[in-house]
């Protein structure tokens, strides 16, 4: 383990190691997210993820936000275990009828000010599952949403961009 840790000391971070247009975009985006998040909430913005019925692909990509390539914690954005600790709810999936109540209760358990980000094509209007007897529809059919990030699933990069857009809008409107 010491060897591995030692090597890590000398190895450049993964985000900078292979510069490509994507990484450049990430860096640019990263700085902007950092600035906006700090201005609004002073370096700490907590996200609570809720799966309201997704196929779990969105969850995989949200997980990826935490890996060394995207490392959202650099910007003070972090995932928390309880809605009581959250500023942002990231909600995935078509909302199933079996999850409708749990989603609404989680929303109400989150203190104000709070923002809701609907993640993925299904979260918009139910996507390819709309019309099913078991599906309510999009996240917006159950709780008010502030932003939708499209994709099936959205890439981690698209999600970072989305969080930035939300922060800009919240800061611009001057409302809490």
């Amino acid at each position: 383990m010491r060897k591995l840790l030692f090597q890590s000391l000398f190895r450049p971070p993964f985000t900078e190691r292979a510069p490509s247009p994507d990484d450049a975009a990430l860096n640019e985006l990263a700085t902007a997210v950092g600035r906006a998040a700090r201005r609004r909430l002073g370096r700490s913005l907590s996200i609570r993820e809720i799966d309201a019925g997704s196929c779990n692909a969105c969850e995989l990509e949200i997980h990826a936000l935490n890996n060394a390539y995207y490392d959202v914690e650099r910007f003070g954005l972090r995932f928390v275990a309880s809605p009581r600790h959250a500023d942002i709810l990231m909600v995935t999936g078509p909302v199933t009828k079996n999850m409708r109540e749990a989603l609404a209760r989680t929303y109400h358990a989150t203190p104000d000010p709070k923002w809701v980000v609907a993640v993925g094509d299904c979260a918009k209007d139910g996507g390819c599952f709309s019309g099913s007897y078991a599906v309510v529809g999009g996240v917006g059919d159950v709780i008010p949403i502030d932003l939708h990030i499209p994709g099936c699933p959205p890439t981690p990069m698209a999600m970072l961009k989305g969080l930035l857009a939300l922060l800009e809008r919240v800061a611009g409107a001057g409302t809490a």
């Binding site: 993820e49 990826a64 599952f129």
Partner: protein, 503 residues
Amino acid sequence: MPPLTDLMHKGRKVAQHRPWSRAVVDAADWSRAAGELARGNCSLLALWGEPSAVHMAISDKAGGEIVVLSVDCPGHTYPSVGMRHPPAIRLERAISDLFGLSAEDLPDTRPWLDHGSWGVRFPLGNRVKALSKPAPYRFLPVEGDGLHQIPVGPVHAGIIEPGHFRFTASGETVVRLEQRLGYTHKGIEGLMSGADLERAAQLAGRVSGDSTVAYAYAFSKAAEAALKIAAPDRAVWLRALLAELERLANHLGDIGAICNDASFALMHAHCSVLRESVLRAANDVFGHRLMRDIIVPGGVTRDLGDDGKEIIHAALDNLRLRFPTLVELYDNTASLQDRTFGTGSLKPALASQYAAGGYVGRASGRAFDARRNLAYPPYDALRFEVPVLNDGDVNARVWIRVREVEQSLSLIDQILHRLPKGPSRIPVRPLEEVGEGMAMVEGFRGDVLVWLRLRGGRIERCHLRDPSWFQWPLLEAVIEDNIVADFPLCNKSFNCSYSGQDL
């Protein structure tokens, strides 16, 4: 005479079913089949309903010979399999929820997928209006001095799917875990009925996102069997390439995540980087990080050029360089092994009874891998080992994944080296006649089974069975006598799909 052959001979064979045989049997022979399952002479692969019939797929114990038995249910009842063979209980509860067909003498008649919120009952059978006040769900009673209960979910503390776990503990020790699932039920099989092939393939790839390749693969094979067509050689090999990349990415993610649940974040950080490298290669080559919607009936939608081969080779070289160090780290960290060793042990007898697929079965002595036992192309022409261990603990499930990563690396090399030339997709024309097809494909989690009936180019009925159906109940068994704090570790080492089970 072997039990399966005997049962088949007694029934009325259905000619349109491919590639394995299907026979309609009477209630007595259906019960005999349940008896064979209970005695451990065969394995239950799937059990699913239609508005007035129930089907089950069973295999011999070696797993190579498969038959489908059907029984008509004119009175909306059929003899329970679950009464004699517990792995069928949840499946029969689901059939009752969706079709309104009840299994006679089923020991557990509580609803499973139906939480009373759909507004209808029996949505895939003869629909009736839902009860205005559904009865509250009753968890199994637990009695004893000093026991306490911990309800968890459906919204969990991490970035995971929803489900409810009801723990009963004595001090720190778990006495019983009872799961309640169904929260992500989207009615996929309902949406399938009447869908054309394109939409149905899209839906199949969204049953469980982490297995999107495996589902599209199994669905396409089943559809091709029903249509009496074969995908071109190149597509057959490309599909295996996609499947192995998916297996690699998921196993790498899991190995790290299991260690993370033992608070060993270093492994998680490094494994996440390796997983990301596979996803990026997949994105560069196939245009989608999870390789979604690439496999379709008739072939694959994206071919692989020389630059694609190079990208994959580069990703594999990187893995070969970095992965062994992580394996060594796992193997040499006593504090980590202290958590994984002897934790959440699954007895081989249970793994065999439930015909548990994937690393859950293979870590508990069940040497079944659809790639080997069914030897579907191109795996019949590839060299690989199927690692099997007998310890059945979290540690064994980690090691099975480690060995499978190594096997997948070798398989991808072989596929890239021997990839045949030619078209990668053929046009698919609907058949006039009715056709039924079935396929089983080894996903990263275990065998994914798809059964379907096509009529005039549309899906009449499609059933998709996730390997998690036979793994979730075993998680209830392995957590017993472990401490509550080890549940995340056990759960992650199983990594069952909620969405795949709930459908």
